[in-house]
C-alpha cells in the first residue's frame, strides 16, 4: 500500500509543470560566534529561569543547597556526567534527605517511572544561546531526555565557553555536526508555559515548573 502511495505521490509531483526557479540568496550560515554571559543571563531571566553564575564547578553544592533547601525536595535525578562533582551532589542529597537517583544507572522502565516521580532533574547542557537565554542538549547515551522535561524542577548546567551568540550561530554549529546528529536535540528557552485559558500566561505547563541555569566559568564583568 505504502509503496504504491509513494509511487503515485512522487510520480504526480514529478510530472507537475515546473515553475521558473527564483534565484535565492540565503544569508550565510552562522559562524558559531561566542555569546556574552550577561546577555545570556538577562535573556534567560526574561524566560522566567533562575540563573546562577559560579567560577568553579566545586561551588555547585552550595548554590544548589541554597536553592533547594527551602523547597523540601524528596528526590534528585542526575544524568551523571564526568563534568559533574557527583560526590558533592550526593552529599547535598543526603543533607536534604532526598533520594539520589543516577538516571544512567536505571533500566528504561525505571527511568521513565523515576523521572515522572522525582522532584529535580540535574543535567549538563552542551551549548547555550546568549540572545535567547537558551540551553541546548544533544541527547546521547549519557544524556537521557526525560530528566530535563519530566521533573518539576530542571537544573541545567552550561559552561560559559559553550555559550554561542544567536540561534543562527547554533544552526551553523549543528550544520557542522550534521553527520553526527543525535536522535534528539533540544533547545530549552525558559520554563514551559501556556496561555490557552483566557490568554492568561501560566508558567509551568507539562514541562518543568522551574528552570534553574548554572553558568560555570567565564569572567564576570
Amino acid at each position: 500500500m505504502t509503496s504504491k502511495a509513494r509511487e503515485e505521490i512522487l510520480g504526480r509531483l514529478k510530472l507537475a509543470q515546473p515553475v521558473n526557479p527564483v534565484p535565492m540568496q540565503l544569508s550565510p550560515p552562522g559562524l558559531g560566534l561566542p555569546g556574552e554571559i550577561e546577555k545570556f543571563t538577562e535573556a534567560a531571566q526574561q524566560g522566567a529561569a533562575t540563573v546562577f553564575r559560579i567560577e568553579r564547578i566545586e561551588e555547585l553544592e552550595d548554590i544548589l543547597g541554597g536553592y533547594l533547601e527551602p523547597k523540601a525536595v524528596s528526590s534528585i535525578m542526575v544524568a551523571e556526567d564526568a563534568r559533574l562533582p557527583l560526590d558533592s551532589i550526593k552529599n547535598l542529597a543526603a543533607r536534604l534527605k532526598a533520594i539520589y537517583i543516577d538516571a544512567n544507572s536505571l533500566d528504561e522502565l525505571s527511568l521513565r517511572e523515576a523521572a515522572f516521580n522525582c522532584d529535580v532533574g540535574i543535567t549538563c547542557c552542551d551549548l547555550g544561546i546568549a540572545q535567547t537565554g537558551s540551553l541546548v542538549i544533544f541527547h546521547r547515551a549519557q544524556s537521557p531526555r526525560l530528566p530535563s522535561i519530566a521533573p518539576p524542577i530542571h537544573i541545567g548546567l552550561v559552561w560559559a565557553d559553550d555559550i554561542l551568540d544567536s540561534l543562527h550561530d547554533l544552526t551553523g554549529e549543528i550544520t557542522r555536526q550534521q553527520d553526527h546528529l543525535p536522535g534528539a536535540l533540544t533547545i530549552i528557552s525558559g520554563v514551559s508555559r501556556t496561555a490557552d485559558i483566557n490568554l492568561n500566561v501560566t508558567l509551568g505547563m507539562h514541562g518543568p515548573l522551574e528552570l534553574v541555569i548554572i553558568v560555570i566559568g567565564g569572567e564576570k564583568s
Binding site: P18, S27, F116, L146, G172, G183, T194, N198
Partner: protein, 489 residues
Amino acid sequence: MIPQTERFKELARENLNNLPQRQLAGQIAILFRMLRGFAIQSYPDPAAVMQEAAQIRQRSLERLPALLEQFEQNAARAGAAVHWARDGEEANRLISRLLQDKGIKLAVKGKSMVSEETGLNHVLEEAGIEVFEGDLGEFIIQQKHMTPFHIVGPALHMPVSEISQLFVDIMGIEPTDSPEQLGRAARNYLRQKFAQAGVGITGVNVAVAETGSILLVENEGNIRLATSSPRIHIALMSIEKVVASIDEAFKVADVLIKSCTGQKISSYISMITGPRREGELDGPEELHIVLLDNGRTKIYEDPELRDVLRCIRCGACLGVCPVYTRIGGMAYGWVYSGPMGAVLNPLLLGISCTQDLFQACTQCGSCQEACPAGIKHTQMYHRYRRMLLQGNSAFKAHKASPWESLAIKIWAWTMGSRRRYKWGGLKVRFFLKIRARNGSIKSMPLMKGWFEHRDLPAPSSQTFRQWWSKQERDAGMAVNCEGGQAHDI
C-alpha cells in the same frame, strides 16, 4: 473532524451575535498583532528576513519531489520508518493498524493540525485506542468535541467557568476560576498519560531533507514528553513541510515562532533525527514518519495554486483579518480558519462547499501583507471565484447557475467598453435613485443575500465624471474625458 464549511454563514451569524466572543476575537487579534510586530522588529532587517523565509518556502516547493526523496532516504538512514499516504483515510488506517499490531491502547498527542485534518483521533478511538491531546487548548476542545477557535489558542473563546466545569466532570477537581489552577489540574491529569502511553503522536513543523530530521516547536512541553516517554513516536507530516537544509529549517522555524505567538523563541524546539540510538535509555525505539498527501499533489499540479502550499501554519493572517477578528475561528467549520482557512480549505475540501469562506473576504490584502511565506491570498480567491464561474471538477467547483453566469457575462460585456459602461452606469443610477429612501437602499429584487448584512448608500447627485467635467469647465480648461479612467456609476 467533519467539515461544516457549508454552515459558514449560519455559524458566523451565531458568533457575531455572541458579543463577548466577538470582543475576545478582536482583543486576541490586537494582542497577537502587537506581539508579532515586536518580535519581527527584533530582527536587524525584518523585511530581508521575511523575504528570505518566503524564498525558502518557494524554493522548497520548486524542488519538492527531490527534497522528499532525499528526506526519505536520510530519515531511513537515521533509523526512521517512512510511510506514504495518499489521503487522510489511508494515513489513519496505517497508523491505527500499526498501533493495533503492537497492542497499544493509550496514545498521547502533541498539537498537530494535520491529524485534525485527517480526523485521526476518531479513527483511533474506534479502534479501541484511547487518545489524549497534550496541548491544553487542544485537550479542552477535544473533550468538548469542538472545532478550534484559533490555531494558536484553540479554546481561547471558552469562559473559564465552562473549562472549570469540564475539569470537574473529567478530573473530579473542585470548581475554580483560576486559569493557573486549571492548568495545574490538566498537568497532573495528563502526566499519568504521558508516563504510561505506548505511543506519542505529533505533527511536523519543518522537515530537513539533508539530514532526515524533523523540527517541532512548542511552549507547553507536551511534544517533548510525547517524543521522550513512549516507546513509539509517530510523526504525521504533510508533504509540503520539507526544506533542503538545517539552516533553512531553523530560519523557517524562527519566523514561524515569531509570526505565531510573537515570542523571541518558543520554550522548546526539538530536532529529531531517527529513533533513540544505541545505548540511549529513553526516547522512542521506533520513529514512524507518515508523509501525507491528502490533496497536496493535486494543488501542486496547478502552478498558479501551488503557492498555497507555502503556508507554514503560523496564523499571522488571522490576527490581521477584518473578517476573522469579528467572527472567530469556529465559523470556518473546519481545522483551518481565518485567511489560512479561506485559502486552504477550498483546495482541500472543494471550492463549492467552502465558497462562503473566501466570498466573505473584503479583499483588503492585510493577510498577504502579514504572511511570512509570501502567499498572495487575494489572487487565490480570484482564482477560486473563476473556478466557480467556469466549473472545475478537480476541485469540486460546481458551475454557477445559468442566471448567475448570464449576469456575470452581461457585467463583463458592460465593463468591456467605456461607452457601454457609461450607459449602464446611468441606467443603474436611475434605478438606484428610485429605490433610495433616506439616503440609503436597503433591499433590491434578486439581491436579498447581498442586502442581508449591509445597506447601499444612495447615489450622489452627480457622478464623479460629471463633477470632474464641471471642475475643469470652471477652471476654463479644455475638457477631454475620452480615453480617461472610469470611476463612477
